[in-house]
Structure formats: C-alpha cells, structure tokens
Amino acid sequence: MRTLAAIVGLAAVGLACAPAATAVAHGTSSPRALLAGIAQLDDQLALLGSSSDAGRSDEDDLLAIRFVNHDGYTFRLFAFSQTVVLSVIRRDRKTRPSSTTYLARGVVTSSSIEASFGDRGRVSLRFRPSRRPARATRRVKCTKSGNPVAAHLGLFVGTLRFRGEGGYTSAEVQRVHGGSLDPAAFVACQVQAIAPPRQGSPSPPGRQPSGLATLRNYVEDFGKDPPEIPGVDTRPSEREETTALIAHRKTPLTRTVFVALNRGQGQARFLALDAGVDGSLGILRFVSVPAPVAAFRTEDTLSGASVSPPSPFSGTAIFQHGGGREKSFAGSLAVSFLGAPGVPLADSTFETLLLRGR
C-alpha cells in the first residue's frame, strides 16, 4: 500500500546522468535520431526521478521532430498524450552540450500537436506521413504480434514558433520533418527499415540493416562511455577511482544541481541542472562540460575540494568539510544556462557531498 510517495532521490542521481550528457543525436530526421532526443531527455529527467515514459501508454504514438535552426541551435520536440516537450540544444563542441527543455500541456493526437509555450511561443502542427512506414518485421525477441508499424516519417505542417528568454534563440518554421513513432514496437521488436536507404539497393529481406540497433539497445547504450560489455570485473581494485562533488538546492518547486566528476581518466567533467516551473510551463536547463583535471581538485582526505570549471560556468568555489557535520561550499561559482545566465551554484543554500569510490 502506498503511503506518501517518495519520488525523488537527488543524492544518487548526479553520477548516473554524467555519461549520457555527452551524447547528442546526429544526422537527419530518422526514428533513431528522433528517439535519441527522447533518450537524452530521459537522462535529464532521471535527475528528477521521473521518466518520459510517465503518462504514456503503450498505445500512444509519440510524435517527434528534430531540426537545426538557422542560428545553429538544435530543436527537438516530442509530444505524447497531453505533454509537449521542446528542447533547445547548443553544442559548442561535440562534448559540450547545453540544453533547455520546456514542458507544456498540449493536445496531441496521432496526427497533430497543439500547445502553447506562453510568451515563448506555440506549436500548431499537423502531421503528413510518408507512404512508407517502418515496420518491425524481424521477430527476434519481438513480443508484438504481426508486423507492427514502428514509425512513420513525414512532414509536419503548420507553425512552430519559439523565442527563448532574452532572445537567446528564436525559430519559426512552417514545415519540418519528423515522425510518428510507436515506442512499444521499437522496444519490443527489431525494426527492419526505418528510413529509405540513401543509396544502393534495399536491404536483403529478413536482414536488419547494419548499424541499426533496437530502440531498447540504443536507449540503454545511449551515451555510455565506454560501451558496456556484459561481463564481470574480476579486478575491481584496478578500476580508476571516481571522485564526485555534488551540490544541490531544493525549494518547494525547483531543484538546482551541480556535479563535478573526476574519473581518473585525465579529464574532469562538470554538470549543472536547474529544474522548475514558470506558470504553466516546466523548464529544465542542463549543461555539461569537460575540463582539465586541475579544474577539480580534491584533498586526499576528502576534507576539501575546489572547482573552477570552464564556460558556461564562471567563477570558483571551495568545499570544506570540517569536523563533525560542518560543511561549506562557497565562492563565486555560477553557470549560464540557455535562457538563464549567471545562476549561482555555491552558497549556504546548497547541500554538498564529496564522494570517492570505484
């Protein structure tokens, strides 16, 4: 029997999200590329203890769009049931993604998306599928009977208008490629073909085109670094130690998380996430950046640490753990999210942990 639900466990989440943050979808609109965006959102939502699967039944189609705006920002939108999620992503380099994700209530059918993002914009799109659905025909481990249609690619027509806070980006499109996906079919079945081959003849009957993973595998493997190979580590003592500093602040309706990681691989990584609600819009901001090891220094006894991450972070902060329960994390450390510059990350309102383990 359920008592009051305990939905979020922040302390453990920072480490789990770190690798995924480095992975970003590439390529044109294919189910795989579109779903990559969903997987990334899943990773970010994991910080909140939720999942984009929430509220989506197996029968629901998931409409997804991805395009690169004229100013270089990547826009990803996916919609299911009553939820419309728009992510704006900037990649300074391959390994430096910043994103802000907006969640709105909307009206979503298998062929249309209607949602308002308040003064930031709105979406009113109708989906025109192409004539070639992608079917799940390879029956290996396929728990769905028949040849279920796993995806339709096609064209969304209408309006997608968006202007980020302070005008950090703006987009207005009337026609954009995307797809209607059946996530359950993707998860349950191997997909024979998800897009017309770019060149050459179609794949041989019954063979899966090379390089295509099932959605499940793809999502599970998403961003793992390095890819996880089944096996047992018989020499755990030889694995590199990971040191992590996790600072988080919780208010009734917002969470801010800062994570510094050193996996002993000659590089540190810094992440920050800010999640909250602005009126009837949910907003989730995220940055991840690699840095030289020197940017995250820790004392061997874990009694202190200093961080000086690169842009989009600024400033520095020092963590000190005195005797007993006395801890402090203070300094000028701040981060500039897309649409929210200069968010402070180190003061007495943050609870901070410094951990080390294999």
Partner: protein, 239 residues
C-alpha cells in the same frame, strides 16, 4: 525552531475534531488482508448522503492494481481512538480512469460510498458534508486537513494547515495524464493522504496526494477538473 517543531506547528492540531466544520473529516482504516493502512478522508454533500472523498491511492493501488475493498472504513471526527460518530464501511469504491490506467498523480482522487453506521444512520445525516468544486482557477488559498500518522505526528488527532496558498505545479506533473497538480505548503506525513484541501471555508477542491521525501513541507494534490466532476456524479448515483 527545529523541523519537528515546525511541522507540528505548521500542521496544527484541531482542538475539537467533532465540532461543526471539522467533523466532516476523518480517518480511513484499510486492510488489504495482509497489512493495515490509514488515510484521511472527507464527507462530501451528495443526494445519497454517503460520499467520502480521499486520494486515489487510498482506494486503489493504481495502474490496474487492486481495489482496497476488503476492509475499508471511514471514521469521521476521529480522535484518540474515539469514534464519536460511528464507523462507516465502504460499499462502493471509485477513482479516476487516469489513476487506474497510469497511476497518474494528477488524477490521484478516490471516492467511497459508505454504508450506514452501527446506528443505522447515513454519513451525511450524522456529520454533514463539505461542498465540492471543480474547474476553479488553481490559484486558491487552501485549508489542508488530515490525520498524519507518521513521525513526528501520531495520528491521534485531526490537523490543519490553515490558509496556505497555491505555490505552483510540480514539474513531474507535466509528464503525467490529467490536469497539472497543485502544490501548497504543509508539513505532511504518512496518513495525511486523502486529506481535504478546502477553499472558501467548506468547499473541497483537492486532496493530499504526495510529498517528496526530501521536502515533506510541500504538499501536492490533484487539480479538481472534469474527471473529478464525473467521479462525483458517478458516485452520487450509487445507492
């Protein structure tokens, strides 16, 4: 003031749970055959004089889970083990479709139609009931009632967070079916689930659904919209 003191003063004890205006609230005792549980509930005005509103998870486990229809009783005005108005056993339980289908916290509303008490009297005739409102603007000021039973509370008496305003929506609420839920400040604990959120004195407009373990001072409840209206109408027809 430490956290315990703050919680106890925030969710303040009602001096007389049997007084008019408070006696509509009570404790729900539930047994699923293996373990005992308790929630809070509220008598709501209806033609059958027999409606108790509570949280969906106090009547059904969600996601096509089990109904708690084995032993489910409502004790209005409960305090210190006393049952001043008797015990009302459920004869019909209902919840929203989105709670059944998806365990959506946005739809965590339940209702029971209860039998007469040991003296043969209907619930509404004994303690009266709150009115109920739906499709109101979310920005309301709530009185949150309940019987929190987990520490630092003991479940012995009724408590109230008075005049606590709407804070906003939970971000997680965006990912679930149903209208965005409501947040309000109140230091809840287990057992408070299903407790009434009233507006304008005596009008039910939400119920306690959940809180986060790392912030038990913020209470979340479902928005009362069309689904709740439909649930009310369905339950009102049960004789």
């Amino acid at each position: 003031m430490d956290e315990v003191e703050r919680a106890l003063s925030d969710f303040a004890e009602v001096s007389d749970p049997t007084a008019p205006g408070f006696r509509q609230n009570g404790v729900i005792f539930i047994s699923d055959g293996f373990e005992l549980g308790r929630c809070s509930g509220t008598s709501v005005n209806a033609p059958n004089l027999s409606l108790v509103f509570t949280a969906g998870h106090c009547v059904n486990d969600g996601g096509r889970g089990a109904w708690f229809n084995r032993d489910w009783v409502f004790v209005p005005g409960y305090h210190d083990g006393v049952r001043p108005f008797g015990v009302f056993a459920a004869k019909w339980l209902g919840t929203t479709e989105d709670w059944i289908e998806e365990s959506s916290p946005n739809a965590d509303v339940g209702v029971a139609v209860v039998s007469r008490n040991e003296r043969g009297r209907r619930l509404g005739a004994v303690v009266g009931g709150y009115d109920i409102a739906w499709n109101r603007p979310p920005r309301q000021v709530f009185d949150i009632h309940g019987y929190p039973a987990e520490a630092p509370f003991d479940g012995a008496g009724q408590r109230i967070c008075s005049a606590t305003p709407f804070l906003g929506h939970d971000l997680a609420s965006f990912l679930f079916l149903g209208p965005l839920n409501l947040a309000a400040r109140c230091s809840v604990a287990g057992g408070a689930s299903g407790g009434a959120w009233t507006i304008e004195g005596d009008t039910l407009n939400s119920v306690t659904s959940y809180a986060y373990e790392d912030d038990m001072t913020t209470d979340f409840g479902p928005y009362f919209g069309d689904a709740v209206r439909a649930l009310y109408r369905r339950a009102s027809q049960v004789r």
